[in-house]
Symmetry: D2
Subunit: 423 residues, 4 copies
């Protein structure tokens, strides 16, 4: 990649980094990406309701959480056409290059940020070099700023190449809440795809290392549990209350204590809890946003059933009622080895690649599995490609950052693979 | 009491009911009370910093919680002079009638509301008759609207009477958070008081019943515990996180499990909990607003020490740090039997009083104990008077309400007692 | 009391102290008491099945727990006639003096010891002076050795007096497990009693202090909870197990966390737990012997219902089954003030009495309440008398001991009261 | 294998099955094995202290748990010479055939049973065919009866063969408590071994399937935690007690709640708990026998450190003291692929073998890892061989049983491999 191109991509990544937006609220980010798509020139551009299946969206926040971000995006200079198309949580986009006869190749990148306050330490490059998050309390702590950047870089490289066939760039919203993958999968846009690539940066692989076929996706279910008891004066009539926070605490303790499983890895987290209204009132209501995962769908189901039982029993224990609502879910998936081989071979030709792995385990969840599953069920192949990057802090921590040299590696490896597939 | 007076008091109580304001934010309420004080005519009027010891205030919310209520009070028509005097959480007032030689008699009433959403059921009189809370999410669920009304009624009755001496009406803010009593006590305004009466409506006593000397106050400590761990991706690196919500849950469970004490009643409540930022992130931070109480100060201390140990051990258990900060505290206190006798005798002359008790237990906490303690230490006497009222829902519940006939009982009993003391 | 009599009683008390026997296994103790009854001479003597209602016994241990104690008593020299009469857990006795026309007065004492290992410290008088428990692991840690001794002393004093009427000495077994009181009450022996006295030594009152009418008995329910899950290899198939020890642990935590009650004192204890068979096997079975108490029968019921819910929910939480069986229960009761007055007056004439209280709270449970309730329901009066004694360690601890001077106080106060009642 | 040989082995296995003995108490079992060794004829025979390193034994029970089993073995007809040599928990044996020049090949089998009550259901073959456990409460629920039988069968087959070199049969005690492996390893008997085979039956592989090199051993640490508080009367002075059972319950809950690890499988079990002395006494003492495991030694260490923290924090939470003592430990290990290949090839020649796997994961722990590690560190090779068997119930459950056809498979596969190594 030439210097100018790299400088452009680096600048774009920093701009996106400075403007992190959480799931379904990527209004400014989508707008900025559309600018780039228009600059590059594409043959199809689907926005908002046209890019996804509206009813299949999961974990969409309420109107009053969406609106301030929509307004903030306008204040930041987002385009009115994009703001109109995405209003109500219809972020993301799908662009296509039509280059005659040939296979349909798709690349999926995601664009949302996390509710994490970014480090302000001088040791943290974005803070030191002036592109730390402008949206205090939110942060690109998982590299989706880099994903979007690489996606656009690949699009431009493919556009300039001899590629024959159709190339689709999927700009997926709401990956962090496992909310967008299903909506993209069910849009139909992927049903004619022969080869699907999805990418992720980092994952504890160093700059220069490429994983051609990531596996070991954990199936996941996210849920919201609500406990309802009865309030009472905590000093005068403590036993007239039915304490939703006691029920919540019992549930949290016992969720983590769900027995490990002999068949493989499982996970559980009680990520957000809230309950009660005043120090001296027996809490009437408490909620938990939690998740369970499993190395296989069966293991996820095991955790899921146990979690339901824990929540119900904890409520019964403290004479409360409980409801559990699934807010998001994703299956497991496997990368196709033959498609991974193509990526592996392509990576062998890219300068900057110092290490290649045919496969490695993710050990987390990704709703790219919905897209992979969709393509595979329609007869296509899919692989999830890892682009290593030296990251000082772990994913989802305040000091996460990417080594920007990996932007070039990502663009070069993926565009080379796409070009080989399109020959 | 004549019909007109009762109609006026009923109307005033409903007006206050319709405008509930939480602790240290009683801007409109104070303003409305000052209107009444001016109408009645008083010899002294102390507002804001003049009515209390600013440094002794406890549980004062942050500026950004105070300001919206201040603005809202202005919008509702509060007086600019009162808004100026009370800005920054200096609510409440102290008025005095000077009627020549004679003892100093004081009456303390409180004025704050609770963060409870008021019932909208047609069976709930305020909803049915149109004076349900205008401040959604907040409610006079403990009768402080009636307390303020009775206090003003007594002041007017005393003003019109032959009472000789000085009568002070103490309008205390922030009782519900145990935040205002100490500040009033340390203002010095009570140091010359010979006889202090404090009143409370309801307390499970029916309309027509009067308790001349309530006892059994529980000493109380309210605190905020903060747990700090470390965030991590809950799917990929669950063990790299240190989970503040697990620590919180362990603490809640074990706070309630503090052993009961053979020496008397104890209480514990984890009233408000919050923790975590996202479903898939190991929670880095969690907080709890809790309280402990004891029948004696020693029992409160027992609970308090055990609670500190529980919080620290729960944090250590999950490799987190914890801090515990006391936000409010109140001692125990006893009513003087001889002063209660005066109230008992006075009640015997009031029509509407159908039952008199010399004493009864509160079984809760009240920061009137700070005032009682102050007066008793300066050689005066104090009693806490219960004015029964039929209340459909319990104190601190969404269906609490008062039987407005008890407004007349309260005014008549207390003003009769004050007049007897002033003879 | 003369020196010889006191020396005899002291020696007897030490002999009983040296031979502590737990509930329903007081074979040697009963035998030794029968020796004394015969020495004194009584008009009626009921043993074993004749002294109680066999079917109303509660908490009787299994044959294989009874037999070794029966054999041990024989080895220690117990009388064959008593061993025959008491075999199978029919310990205790009832003796009567018939002294012509007059009221029927009864005195109840209890005789069982506790499963506590007695202190061997030289600071512990029984260890230092050579009458520490011979039955390692068991101990008279609640003064029942003194109760039996005082009962016999009173019997002898009454026998030598001018008392007119009938005097019954009730030697009750199995008080510590709340197992014997009901069986004595339902024997019918108390149905003609006009005045019932029951005594207890210590209770945190010093030597020389007498409480004429103890009140504040806690109603109690003891129960055994059994959790049944399914075993599995803890390494290979942890999730195939259903863990009874996890269920037990969740239950213990939440039993202690049952909310305190505004109406009065409650108690809860998980006194004995057992579960599992091997370190590497998921535990299939676990049991808990627990208890709940309440200041009133209603409060005991509140705790009891909550406890059942906790056990069932804890089992459901971990996919186990649970059963809860009540092993013992006792109601609350009140001493009659008029009968207590007689004791109070009698105590005024006894040298060695330095302080008299008309009433005081026990703050614990006692199945003497079954006897008191029975007598009161048949038209008689009852009082529970506290005989103070300086005790270095608390009741039910390894260093509990009595000040033997209180033996004389107990005998003199109670016999004087009995004589007054028999005049 | 001919019919007679199989009939003999089947009969021997049933005899051992009928007489299960737990770890370090395999007195009768060792005696019966020595009978067979003498019948076959061996060149070396080491018993008791000669077969192992006495000081390296772990988890040896107390004398009073050893003695009854020693006496019971004598009653069952065990040989006096073996009883003498094994007294005090020195069970097991080591026999060798010396067949001239050639490599040293060793086979390790284990012999102890589990504290599980065997099923009496007619569907359970041992119950139906009359060889159910005679030692009620104990059971060969992991197939060590079959292991010993196969070991002897292999020895006899090798003795009758052309094998050149030295063949050692290691009869290891106390595998179930992870107590014997280290003692065998440190005896020095294995230091000259070139090829070590260890076998296990079942492991969810069906009859006819052979795994040539089992891997995936979980490193393990077993420990005993003791909680010490202070007893008190649970009714009268509940807060004077410091409750060891509350500490235990908090520990159990939080042990299971130790966060799962992203690097691989972990395990935790609280296998045996005990605490308290009486229903109405605050428990002074409680103990737990627990274990943690990890896919690697590092993961075991992670769990181990967290477990220590949990125990200490749970004790601190309830004002108790705690100690944690490691009772047994075993590292992880890997089978040598080249040695596994020999077994794989040998299995290909055995009738009855219907399926061969080069490797499979155990998913549990085994102290054979101590022996494997010792041999590998001295330059030899080791493999752990799985002999499939249809087992109706899982390992460590009351309905576990083996398909006796697998005895022949085991003997034939292993003896063929030994003979190939000895050529």
């Amino acid at each position: 990649m030439d210097e100018d191109r790299l400088a452009h991509l680096t600048s774009l990544r920093r701009e996106l980094h400075r403007y992190p937006e959480p799931a379904w609220r990527e209004f400014y980010t989508t707008s900025r990406i559309v600018d780039e798509l228009e600059r590059i020139g594409v043959d199809q551009l689907h926005l908002g309701r046209d890019a996804l299946d509206a009813d299949a969206r999961m974990a969409v926040p309420d109107e009053d959480e969406l609106t301030p971000w929509h307004e903030r995006a306008r204040d930041a200079g987002a385009r009115e056409d994009v703001l109109d198309a995405t209003e109500g949580g219809f972020t993301g986009a799908l662009a296509a290059l039509e280059r005659g006869e040939g296979p349909t190749v798709a690349l999926r990148v995601d664009i949302d940020a996390l509710p994490i306050t970014e480090s302000g330490s001088p040791a943290h490059v974005p803070a030191d070099e002036g592109f730390r998050s402008n949206n205090e309390g939110f942060m690109h702590a998982c590299g989706h700023d880099a994903h979007a950047t690489i996606g656009l870089g690949v699009l431009e490289a493919v556009a300039e190449s001899e590629f024959r066939g159709t190339f689709k760039l999927v700009i997926q919203p709401a990956e962090e809440v496992i909310g967008g993958g299903k909506a993209i999968a069910e849009s139909g846009h992927l049903d004619d795809v022969d080869h699907l690539l999805a990418i992720h940066i980092g994952l504890d692989h160093p700059t220069g290392e490429v994983v051609a076929g990531v596996g070991g996706f954990l199936a996941v279910r996210q849920f919201e549990a609500t406990f309802t008891g009865e309030s009472a004066h905590a000093g005068g009539h403590p036993a007239q209350g039915r304490d939703a926070v006691q029920a919540l605490a019992t549930a949290v303790q016992n969720l983590h204590a769900i027995r490990r499983h002999g068949d493989g890895a499982t996970r559980v987290n009680a990520g957000v809890v809230r309950g009660g209204t005043a120090t001296n009132i027996v809490p009437e209501r408490a909620t938990m946003e939690g998740e369970v995962r499993g190395e296989t769908t069966e293991l996820k189901e095991y955790m899921s059933e146990r979690a339901d039982t824990v929540v119900e029993s904890a409520a019964a224990m403290h004479d409360c009622d409980a409801t559990v609502e699934t807010t998001a879910e994703a299956p497991s998936a496997e990368s196709d080895a033959s498609l991974a081989d193509t990526v592996y071979d392509a990576a062998g030709t890219v300068s900057g690649v110092t290490s290649r792995l045919r496969s490695a385990d993710l050990g987390g969840s990704e709703d790219a599995t919905y897209l992979m599953d969709r393509v595979q069920k329609h007869g296509g192949r899919a692989t999830f490609v890892g682009i290593g990057t030296d990251h000082p802090g772990g994913h989802h921590t305040p000091t996460f950052d990417v080594d920007e040299r990996s932007l070039a590696v990502g663009v070069d490896v993926v565009s080379e693979a796409v070009k080989r597939l399109g020959r």
